[in-house]
């Protein structure tokens, strides 16, 4: 019981911070190419397929938020 309460009280500020980060800094560096935008394949250097060469990835929270917004506005 107490454990759940402690976890909850710790999670709320953490969630808030994550929300703020999702707004102010919606992108993080791509973990696959670590922000370079390209990766070494077997023979030659190829564009990172995950971040499409930008080196940036939208945060998960922001992705969820965007999806919700798009659904709500019917697009």
């Amino acid at each position: 019981m107490t454990l759940i309460a402690v976890i909850a009280t710790a999670l709320i500020p953490l969630a808030l911070i994550y929300v703020i980060v999702c707004v102010a800094q919606p992108y993080h560096t791509c973990s696959r190419c670590s922000g370079a935008g390209k990766r070494k394949a077997l023979v030659r250097v190829k564009e990172c397929t995950r971040c499409l060469g930008t080196g940036l990835r939208l945060r998960l929270g922001r992705q969820v938020w965007n999806r919700i917004q798009h659904t709500r506005s019917g697009r």
Partner: protein, 678 residues
Amino acid sequence: MHTQPELDHEMVYEPPPTQGVPVDPPAERLPVFAAVVTDQSDRRPIIPASLRSREQLRTLARWLVGYTGHTLAYHLTRSPKYAAKMLWWAPVGVGRSVSRSVRWAFDLESWALRQSAASRDDAATYLKLSQQRDRRVGWRGWVLAFGTLLVAAVVALLVWVAPLWLQLCTVGVCIPVFARLGRPIDHPILDRVVTQAAYRKLTAEMVRQALMATGAVKDLAAITFPKEIHRDGPGYLATVDLPDGVIATDIIDKRDRLAGSRALRLPVDQVWPETMRGEHPGRLALWIADRPVSSMRPPPWQLFEDGQADYFKPFHYGHDPRQRPVMWRLDERNSLFGGVPGSGKSLAVRVVLLAAILDPLVVPAVAELKGTGDFDAVEPLCPKGCYASGADEGSKHKAMAMLQWLLDECETRPPLIKRYAQQGLNKENKVNRAMAERDTRLRPIVAVFDEVQELFTDPELGKPAIAMATSIVKRGRALGIHLILATQRIDAASIPKGISSNVVLRLALAVTSHIETDLILGTGAYKNGARPTQFEPEIDAGWGYRVGMGPMAAVRAAYLNNEDAKAIAARAIAMRTSGVHDEDDAQPVWAYNLLDDVRQVWIVGEPALWSELIVPRLQALRPDIYGDLTVELFGSMMAGAGVRTVKLGRRIDGKPHTRAGVRFEELEAAIKAKQIKN
């Protein structure tokens, strides 16, 4: 088999078509050099007219001083209120400037762009935008930091070091500046000094839509504007060229649809479509008033304060919807006023009559058969017997006597006019100002017959009255006699054809239908756009459609109440007694006429005198009037005045002589008859 056809009865020789000159004339030549260099008509003056004359300059300076003074006094009285407002809004202004600097320094205006890029998951754009933000914030942050430090230092210096006057000055400058930044955009700190009329700007699009809404115009693009839409009086004027097949009167007919169209949505009273004088019939002048015209304050009557009128020249009568002055004329015409009760007939007639008496030469005569005394102010100016007011039989008989007198004038005036015209006072055989000044017997007469239907429809007096009035209307025009007829019953009996067709100036005030409109203004007036039916009695009192002078137009008589009328009549009396106009002719209007003069020069005790003895005596009495009187002319003038000249025998040195002459008793009888009539 023959190759060449021969002409037989079924074949006709057809000559080859001949080529004539082209129907279209050759294109116009460009203006030649001489025409270009000599034409200066469109050059505007370098120094505006208001700065050229000393008088205008003085007026301008006076206005400027007055305006500045008023503005200063206005704001000074409100300064405590302004101070309170400024103290209230200045902190808001400080907050706003701080937040603005922060937003600038951290490039917060591109915040929305970055968020939008993130929402679209457009990483490339986001990257560009955040790089731009980084570049900006790099130096702006420093500027903000140093700026803040500087401001803090200045504030600290002001608070602890600066002298009191500098502190006060800084506060005095900063508070208004911050208040200006802090106030909401629709809450100005200073109050408005002059109220300007708010009006909607008329655009070409609105005019086009409104014209389309009438249904008369089918093609929007075919409506063209020969002139730009501009302010004209208290409203906008659009000059429109209508498409083929549509003329201005088509639109005037649909004035209500024009006013009700979605583009305008105005009371009918604000929408004034008019034909344009001197232009083709397809050109329409559409005037849109700022406010309903009936609610506008009419401009004052030009002759109200001072000034003289002239019977022979136009004078101010009233104004049109655009508040432009409208004139009225008396010479060589007669006037007819018609309208339902309450349409302002008597008021309109009175304006004309009051203007007329402001010419010291004019002799007024009034028969008002309603009995309300609308013309009482003019009574002291009317000659004896030439004023009647009442609905009774006596007034009608007085009016009949007046008509008789006017008819007599029509008899006596022509020989005089002929003589003066021969003397060269006028090129035509008509009364002009020179004649009227020379001879009191040719003074212009303005005779008003209000509610004339009472007289014309009288079972006994009607017929002779109509006959006399018709005769006066036809003949009096050139003799300086102006008849003003006003009626509230508009039918063929009240306005007989013989009268209505000879009256030039006609005014239809509020009437009930197109039949009355056409009866007053002439057949076809309603079709040509006259709509006196739109006027409402009492509310639109004085408004009417007028024909006979310029294009048919709606005009409103200047408003003069009973007090104004009395004041104007007093001025007219003063003009006549003090001899403002003709100092050499101080005698009252009717003080001398031919009969009285003959009586004056009569040799006392003689029962009869030869004309040839009277004429030199008359010439000695008034050389300017009787200067070239002949015995024959004297005879005809006496006959006109109602005294026969008879053959008189005398014995001179034993020889009998017979000459034309006048008997004393006949002269006396004629003078007495005239006095009774007057």
